[in-house]
């Protein structure tokens, strides 16, 4: 590296007895898009949190613009032009775009806001009035405002943590163009943190790879490095699996008939949706987020009760009945929102592990802690979950381990029907693989599976049939082997041939 704008050397950081970062080096060069690749829990986010002053490293040195920084804090980091976009948005929903962009004291476009806003709106293809409240924005638009916020706060080093996780394929392509413009015209130094190979190859010029808290490869030239090389670095091994679709399909286990739903804001989010899944079958639901998938899942699982139409689980009509009626018929739901819906924050790992079937550990009013502990130990062993202290709050687990706990909890009972919403979002390649295997394994055991996903690869890989949802309607239903990425993509965008 010629002339690094930021140098981090020998950075180490532990949480409890888990070593998150172990002697990590990282260099950034001005005006370049860097990729930071690694599995979940590899230490990417921890490293970024150290660069943005949120965590203090236990060891190591940080040099910014040739100046040795002893103790970085968020204020100081922002004064050195380091800005970060976190996976969870840090916008104030009730404020306008303008207020969010100009909120920080380091904002540099107080006076010529309109000019700057229109310039960067062009770069980001954001077609919105700056007085629009953020709450009215789509997820993709919020992401753009988050990145714009860094520019407005005069950040020259932009750390983007999984920015494409919430974007549609079209939005991802658009983001790539925007970031290239920023790096070339504004000389912004950009770090793209991701575990998606395709994006890191598309977006970046140089790649860093982390594994288990260590930097296993530095400054690889994106043009020359191969996919297999990157996978080997990231995983230590290459896995390619294709699932055969000669699975035996049995009797119908889940049926939704003519479902329509109008939400509290009086928006018709579902219109006459019908579907049917047989035992041993995976039905994939493609669609951009917010086209009715969450509502459909919540209706099938009994969380939403005031809908039109009927839901039939294993020949039993459960329309109008609640969550527990579905549990009795052995239906499992893996919700999109892990911490907050699937898992209760502030509650112990042990308590969270029992949410699906805690009543099986009950004897009258008594809840047996031993039964709960034994079941949890089964989960921990079977799904190789890292949980240092089961009585500690769930938030002491890493994101990947939380999802393993949630998946394990929902699948261990060998359910008849599984509703899985975005089951692999934000997970690393090996975790994705193991979750795909779990889903196929359940399919072969005779579960009827509704797989809601935005990841087309995943849908094509796992599904027997695909439906595409757009504006609350099923716009296509097709056997996976007859489907192409093009016709599914067009349907997702609402274009009918």
């Amino acid at each position: 590296m010629k002339n690094p704008i930021l140098e981090a050397k020998g950075i180490s950081k532990s949480f409890g007895n888990i070593k998150a970062l172990d002697d990590v080096d990282f260099f950034l060069e001005k005006g370049i898009i860097h990729g930071l690749l690694g599995e979940n829990g590899a230490g990417k986010s921890s490293l970024m949190n150290i660069l943005s002053g949120i965590y203090l490293p236990e060891k190591g040195t940080l040099t910014i613009n040739g100046k040795l920084i002893k103790r970085l804090n968020p204020d100081l980091a922002s004064s050195y032009g380091i800005g970060m976009v976190h996976q969870e948005f840090r916008l104030i929903d009730s404020f306008s775009i303008k207020d969010n962009l100009t909120l920080s004291k380091s904002n540099i476009y107080q006076n010529d806001f309109n000019e700057a806003f229109s310039k960067y709106s062009d770069i980001f293809a954001l077609n919105l009035n700056s007085m629009t409240p953020v709450s009215e924005l789509s997820v993709g638009e919020k992401q753009k405002v988050e990145i714009m916020k860094l520019i407005f706060n005069n950040s020259s080093i932009m750390l983007l943590d999984e920015p494409t996780a919430v974007l549609t394929p079209q939005e991802t392509v658009q983001l790539k163009v925007s970031l290239e413009t920023l790096s070339q015209e504004d000389e912004k130094t950009i770090v793209l943190i991701t575990h998606k190979l395709k994006e890191i190859k598309d977006f970046t010029e140089t790649i860093y790879v982390m594994k288990n808290g260590k930097m296993v490869a530095k400054d690889l030239d994106t043009k020359t490095v191969s996919d297999t090389q990157l996978i080997e670095l990231m995983m230590g091994e290459v896995k390619t699996s294709k699932f055969d679709k000669n699975n035996f399909k049995g009797e119908t286990k889940l049926e939704a008939v003519d479902i329509s739903f109008t939400n509290e804001q009086n928006i018709k989010t579902l219109q006459n949706v019908s579907l049917e899944i047989k035992s041993g079958e995976v039905l994939g639901v493609a669609g951009v987020s917010g086209n009715g998938q969450v509502e459909l899942a919540n209706i099938i699982c009994g969380i939403i009760k005031d809908f039109e139409g009927r839901v039939i689980v294993k020949t039993k009509d459960v329309t109008g009945k609640g969550v527990k009626s579905r549990k009795k018929l052995n239906l499992s739901y893996i919700p999109e929102n892990r911490l907050g819906v699937g898992l209760a924050p502030g509650v112990s790992v042990l308590d969270n592990s029992a949410i699906k079937e805690y009543f099986q550990a009950s004897f009258g009013p008594h809840l047996s802690k031993n039964v709960l502990l034994n079941s949890l130990n089964d989960l921990i062993n079977k799904f190789s979950i890292k949980a240092p202290d089961v009585k500690a709050e769930i938030s002491t687990l890493s994101g990947g381990n939380m999802q393993k706990l949630l998946m394990g909890r929902e699948l261990i009972s060998n359910p008849d029907v599984i509703i899985a919403a975005q089951p692999t979002r934000g997970l690393d390649v090996s975790a994705v693989d193991s979750i795909h295997n779990l889903i196929i394994d359940q399919r072969d055991k005779g579960s009827a599976i509704l797989l809601i996903s935005e990841d087309l690869d995943e849908l094509f890989k796992l599904s027997d049939r695909l439906i595409v949802m757009y504006e609350g309607k099923v716009v296509i239903e097709i056997e996976t082997e007859l489907a192409t990425v093009e016709n599914i993509g067009l349907a997702m965008a609402g274009i009918n041939e």
Binding site: F15, G16, L56, I69, K70, R71, N73, L76, C301, G302, I303, G322, V323, K324, K327, Y333, P335, N337, G340, V341, G342, L343, A344, P345, G346, V347, D351, A354, I355, K356, Y358, F359, S362, P365, H366, L367, K369, D389, K391, A392, S395, T396
Partner: protein, 352 residues
């Protein structure tokens, strides 16, 4: 220049709450000593007298434990309600209402067997406490009204009702114009077990175990924890968070109502303003210090009972009884600060 930042600890010592209490108590003793020194009293003399007269003999110990009963019971009720992350500030009113309900049943019924009668009267007290919190509980689950405000306001309503009753319809003609209801018959007094210790203390032990069981060992306690952790997770799990909150509030109110009933049957023997001397408020301190743990509430409640007795006896040597209230309040203050330091760490950051 140095700057300080706060960061939350991922792992917290399991005994943190206990250590926090000890630290808080130590701070309270130091603060109390300073106040005594300002008044030119020897703190060592005052505290040893307090100790001697609160736990030094069977009689004084039983006085202390009798005093602890309402603190513990009301504290347990607060802790049960807090399992769903709700705050009951209305234990004081529920204590009075428990006594009022008891007296109402007493006036309108008569049972030969005094044990059966005592049981019925205690049950009336429990139900009275539940009735007292019914309005806050309903407005919480139906309309989402903040329970802190409504339970607090109920205290004023119940206190007004008490004043009305003991000056009006229930006023004892033989009380020489002192506002109080008539005494209950001696046959329904709670018997003492040893010294002056009321059998109410045994009930208190039983209910401590019940509260511990509900919170830590029962399905209901588990469902309350999930509902308290995340309303959305509760919906997802098929747990009705509102139903849990409602039941928790009724049970918690009942615990405080039972405290009022025991106080009436063992101490005052009639409805008067003396049924509670702020027990319902001190119980909040007790519950908060222990991090809402039933066994801790039992221990800290007992200690606070002793402090109250100790505080009242040192008046004989010219020291205000407020010293024990200062110690109670400072213990909470110190313990909360200590709990904060067990949960967060302060890091020094150098600015350049």
């Amino acid at each position: 220049m140095n700057k300080f930042i706060l960061s939350k600890k991922l792992y917290r010592n399991e005994l943190a709450t206990f250590y926090s209490f000890l630290i808080g108590f130590l701070i309270a003793i130091i603060v109390g000593s300073i106040i005594l020194l300002i008044q030119s009293k020897n703190p060592f003399d005052v505290f040893s007298l307090m100790l001697k007269l609160s736990i030094g003999s069977v009689n004084s110990l039983s006085n202390s434990l009798n005093k602890a009963i309402p603190l513990i019971l009301a504290g347990l009720g607060i802790a049960i309600i807090n399992s769903v992350k709700l705050w009951n500030i209305g234990a004081e009113g529920q204590i009075f209402f428990g006594a009022i309900a008891l007296n109402f049943v007493y006036i309108n019924t008569s049972i030969e067997n005094s044990y059966l009668y005592i049981f019925l009267l205690l049950a009336s007290g429990f139900i009275g406490g539940s009735v007292c919190i019914l309005l806050p509980a309903l407005s919480k689950v139906l309309f989402g009204v903040n329970e802190i405000i409504t339970t607090l306001l109920t205290n004023y309503i119940v206190f007004g009702l008490t004043i009305y009753l003991i000056n009006g319809v229930w006023k004892d003609p033989n009380s020489l114009n002192f506002p109080a209801a008539a005494y209950v018959s001696e046959s329904v007094y709670l018997p003492t077990v040893f010294g002056k210790l009321s059998s109410g203390f045994l009930i208190c032990i039983l209910f401590t175990l019940i509260a511990y069981y509900i919170k830590d060992k029962s399905v209901f306690g588990y469902e309350m924890r999930i509902a308290g952790g995340s309303a959305l997770t509760a919906i997802y799990a098929g747990i009705s968070a509102k139903q849990k909150a409602f039941i928790a509030m009724l049970i918690g109110g009942g615990f405080a109502g039972l405290a009022g009933a025991i106080e009436l049957l063992s101490q005052t023997h009639r409805v008067s303003t003396g049924i509670s001397q702020g027990f319902g408020y001190t119980a909040i301190i007790v519950a908060a210090i222990t991090g809402m743990r039933p066994l801790g509430i039992f221990l800290v409640g007992s200690l606070f009972g002793a402090l109250a007795i100790g505080g009242s006896v040192i008046q004989t040597i010219g020291v205000s009884s407020y010293i024990s209230e200062i110690i109670q309040a400072t213990t909470l203050f110190g313990a909360l600060i200590a709990q904060f330091f067990f949960s967060y760490e302060i890091k020094r950051v150098e600015d350049d």
